[in-house]
């Protein structure tokens, strides 16, 4: 799958990711003579040379820009830099030393050792497959519909969830949403009330791209299909008592619930 960001310094790179979880300072974080990370980086002893180096953002002294020049002189540069949010020190060093760099990347989707190609403003993740799904929250008189997933479904058996389903090739997410609501609840008069920004969640070699929708429904009776065994209408404040699928709270957040 492709993950799009923003180009800071142009270039191409191919290789394995090295993902640092914390803000990083080249000054003090890596030995410029060897390219080996120091204890300050939290990953002491590993080399950044020829890796696509991923970290949230830079920190520390402006002198850090020059450390990238030292790494260049000694032949230990990373092949590219990927940040969630670029700042001056690292960006300056990257341009000075000629290291391709992008930012505005959701680095929670990246794992150490992933194979990637960096081109222009994005990453092509060679081993990652994107799965696009809709998730549809139904609301009736202020209460939300929870469905208990059956033992016949592929994932999250027995957990409580909203209506959901894969977006088929060529389908628009809204079409999928209406179709799934009808299939899983029998309700055909749902009214689209809002949609949230797409969420991305890493799961092994997959990334779930979740398109959240909120529907307002009337008194129509709920008729379940094979995918669910029970249903319940609950207040948002009572959700805590239910074992819900991963990311459910995030879905409600982006829908403003």
């Amino acid at each position: 799958m492709k993950i799009k960001g923003r180009e800071i310094f142009k270039g191409r790179a191919i290789g394995r990711l090295m993902v640092l979880d914390e803000a990083f300072s080249f000054l003090g974080g890596v030995d410029p003579k060897t390219g080996i990370l120091t204890v300050a980086s939290g990953r002491e002893g590993e080399s950044i040379e020829k890796r696509i180096l991923v970290f949230p953002h830079g920190k520390g002294s402006t002198v850090g820009s020059y450390t990238l020049m030292d790494l260049k002189k000694n032949g230990h540069l990373p092949s590219a830099i990927v940040n969630a949010q670029a700042e001056t020190i690292v960006a300056t060093g990257a341009v000075m030393a000629g290291v391709p760099m992008i930012d505005s990347i959701d680095i929670s989707l990246l794992r150490d050792g992933d194979r990637a190609v960096l081109v222009g403003d994005g990453l092509d993740m060679m081993d990652l497959v994107e799965k696009k799904v809709v998730t549809c929250v139904l609301r009736r008189k202020g209460k939300l519909l929870l469905l208990k997933r059956s033992q016949k479904v592929g994932t999250n058996k027995g957990k409580w969830a909203a209506v959901s389903g894969f977006i088929e090739r060529g389908e628009r997410p809204e079409q999928t949403a209406l179709k799934e609501v009808a299939e899983e609840t029998g309700i055909t008069t749902a009214r689209l009330e809002g949609r949230g920004e797409t969420l991305h969640i890493r799961d092994g070699t997959h990334v779930w791209s979740i398109f959240p929708f909120l529907f307002e429904v009337g008194d129509e009776e709920v008729v379940l299909d094979w995918e669910h065994t029970e249903h319940v209408w609950v207040d948002v404040s009572d959700l805590k008592g239910y074992d819900t699928v991963p990311g459910f709270r995030k879905v409600l957040d982006v829908l403003g619930l």
Binding site: E7, I8, F9, T62, Y66, D70, L71, A86, V95, M96
Partner: protein
């Protein structure tokens, strides 16, 4: 960011390698900060001069840029790691001196004025109200924004060099009116003297962080403003401040702004927090570099007195001020060394000294980390009394 055809040509490498690299850097910074375009500048001031801070990597970068790079606006340099002539007196070794002078020659090749000072505004590089400039050196850029009314962001050395070469800088931050508004009102307790403004600045920066403070009823003193700018920049990344009735820009309104008071207690707490050592083996003044009037004050105070003890004393200043003060230098040299183009923070004193005393809260903040020093912080009068 929208580029003019001329700027695009630089980015495409049609005007040489240095302009291309410079433009690549400005475009990257412009993207990060959401600049709409580049704005022409009237001057630049560069950090990244001391061999101690930029090292061989820095030399490589400057060597590349100076192959075909020339600055296109008046450009000055920050202090280097030693006095260009008296480096042996400072205990600087030959290798360091050779590499340091090489750095200066690379800047010179690019057309940069190579007297090295953090107070370029006291000499040839004094921007006017409303001028867009690209300055590194946190104390100088804060002075330029605040006291001179020029407009600059907190540039890094390479970003300022890129701006100097292209004559442009990304239009964001303090280049825009909307970001030049006071955020806090600061009231300084009566009885706190201008000798203590450096400590006031440190306390404000520590309390408020990056902000634009408006000082009510502070008064006016050119040397004090230089100290307060330096201290606030070091402790709080403050890039601009206003002083009632003094700075060219004043707040549109102060009602509703949070009010912060700096008391005698705050000053005492500041001194205490900065004091990590006693019995200094170096007493250093001139952070920022001493002005002509400070040299005169020091000389008239010390004239006719005798030095007691053998603690080394440095008076750091710019070549320009040094040239104007021959009589004062004759007095000061009886007490210590009057050094040009360098200071206690960028010189490699970690090899020669252990405990440094300074009247600059900025120097006292940086000396432990950059120079492995224990620090004795005091007012200038207190420092002078240590040697009398």
């Amino acid at each position: 960011m929208q580029l003019t055809p001329e700027e695009q040509a630089m980015l495409d490498g049609k005007e040489g390698k240095a302009k291309r690299k410079a433009m690549e850097l400005l475009v990257a910074l412009g993207a990060i900060y959401g600049a709409d375009r580049l704005v022409p500048i009237t001057s630049a001031h560069l950090s990244g001069v001391s061999y101690k801070t930029i090292g061989e990597g820095g030399i490589d970068f400057l060597a590349e840029m100076s192959e075909d790079g020339k600055v296109s606006v008046p450009t000055t340099l920050n202090p280097m790691g030693m006095d260009g002539e008296r480096w042996r007196d400072m205990g600087v070794d030959e290798h360091f001196a050779r590499r340091q002078l090489h750095i200066i020659s690379l800047y010179e090749r690019m057309g940069v004025e190579v007297s090295c000072t953090c107070t370029p505004y006291l000499l040839t590089n004094r921007p006017k109200v409303g001028d867009h400039i690209a300055w590194a050196e946190s104390s100088a850029l804060s002075f330029a924004n605040s006291v001179l009314g020029a407009r600059t962001n907190r540039e890094g050395g390479p970003g300022a060099l890129a701006a100097a070469i292209t004559g442009r800088t990304p239009n964001y931050g303090l280049h825009l009116d909307v970001n030049r508004k006071a955020t806090h009102v600061v009231e300084v307790e009566k009885g706190i003297t201008k000798d203590e403004w450096s400590l006031v600045g440190h306390a404000v920066g520590r309390k408020l962080g990056a902000c634009i403070p408006f000082f009510r009823g502070l008064g006016n003193d050119a040397n004090g403003l230089k100290s307060i700018a330096a201290a606030m920049a070091a402790s709080g990344s403050v890039a601009m401040f206003m002083v009632e009735g003094v700075t060219p820009e004043q707040p549109d309104r102060v009602e509703g702004l949070p009010v912060v008071k700096i008391s005698r207690q705050d000053i005492e707490a500041t001194v205490k927090s900065l004091r990590t050592g006693t019995g200094p083996d170096l007493i250093a003044m001139g952070c920022p570099h001493l002005s002509e009037s400070e040299m005169k004050e020091l000389a008239s105070f010390l004239d006719g007195k005798e030095k007691k003890g053998d603690v080394e004393v440095w008076f750091c200043t710019s070549k320009g001020v040094w040239l104007r003060c021959p009589k004062e230098i004759a007095v000061l040299e009886r007490f210590g060394k009057v050094l040009c183009d360098t200071c206690m923070v960028v010189a490699p004193i970690e090899g020669t000294h252990k405990v440094t005393a300074s009247d600059s809260a900025k120097a006292c903040s940086y000396l432990p980390g950059l120079c492995s020093q224990k620090v004795h912080c005091g007012t200038r009068r207190e420092l002078l009394e240590m040697i009398l």
